[in-house]
Amino acid sequence: MSGSAPEKTWVVVLRVLLGAALFFAGITKIKSGWQLAEAIANYNLLPAAANQIFAVVLPWWEIAAGALLVFGVWTRAAALLALVLFSAFTIAVISALIRGLDIECGCFSDASSRVGIRTLAVDAGGIVIAALVVIMNGRNKA
């Protein structure tokens, strides 16, 4: 595309970090579908069928968005997907905190990560970084 400005270094770093984090999060969840379905069910937000579907597709959404961000392909779309994912995670975590639920966050396959302020901060950080990547990649295109 003519006139595109090169991506700024700090945007590249953020994009790759965000992508790597998402990719890793997705990879760790692939083999623990049952645990992920239970972790999603523990939030008590969706019916069983939706929990089961998301347990199957969510890791691959993370892997796809992560890989595209790392390699800089369809960057803006991948960052938009990451933004949607982190926004959904944030809403779920806030809902759990308000209701006082004592549950695993389901962020990775590691079960020792409980829902708390740290989880919320990580998801909020994901929103900020994804939004920055979306905005900065939009500005680069003439």
Partner: protein
């Protein structure tokens, strides 16, 4: 090109940048979803889909036992086995005296590893303990125990918080493999 001009093959209407990106997002999500469904089907233990009572179903709330009742039962000499379903780090930081740690996420693995089938049969009551009362892990473990034939299970009302507040006996904190207390 003006929007008032009709579209043609030579001058197609430009797709807005945002619409293109949203189409790409949907394409990514669709492709990834297909991959997810395929890998799930090929998985040794696939997640059952559209099953009401499967892994995606929220657990039913199990019977509760209050810390006061637990204290009374222990004083009466009842044989009670306390299963702490919190994570290993939380358990190592402090737990009920003589409690066994069986983290809820791999509960069945711990059930086998600790040979719980024999131990639980000897207990008059099984009390599952989590951090607080809002803990689906304990309810899920109770359901799994019921399916394995252990019907005398209870979840401690308000969990570890209530246990400590009731002044019930504790074991000393110990270090985990990671070196954390």
């Amino acid at each position: 090109m003006s929007l008032s001009q009709p579209a043609s093959r030579e001058n197609p209407l430009p797709i807005s940048s945002w619409r293109r990106e949203i189409q790409r997002v949907l394409a990514i999500a669709a492709a990834a979803s297909i991959l997810g469904l395929i890998t799930n089907a090929l998985n040794e233990k696939p997640v059952p889909l559209f099953v009401r009572d499967g892994p995606g179903a929220p657990p039913e709330r199990a019977r509760r036992m209050s810390a006061v009742s637990l204290k009374a039962a222990l004083s009466d000499g009842r044989v009670i086995l306390i299963l702490d379903v919190r994570g290993e780090d939380a358990f190592a930081a402090g737990h009920p005296q003589f409690a066994l740690n069986a983290p809820a996420t791999n509960f069945i693995d711990h059930y086998a590893k600790l040979n719980l089938s024999t131990l639980l049969l000897a207990a008059e009551d099984i009390v599952l303990l989590c951090e607080s009362d809002q803990c689906p892990s304990a309810d899920r473990a109770a359901k799994q125990l019921a399916e394995l034939g252990h019907k005398n299970t209870h979840v401690l009302q308000d969990g570890w918080t209530a246990y400590r507040a009731a002044g019930l006996p504790l074991d000393a904190p110990r270090q985990t493999e990671s070196g954390k207390p």
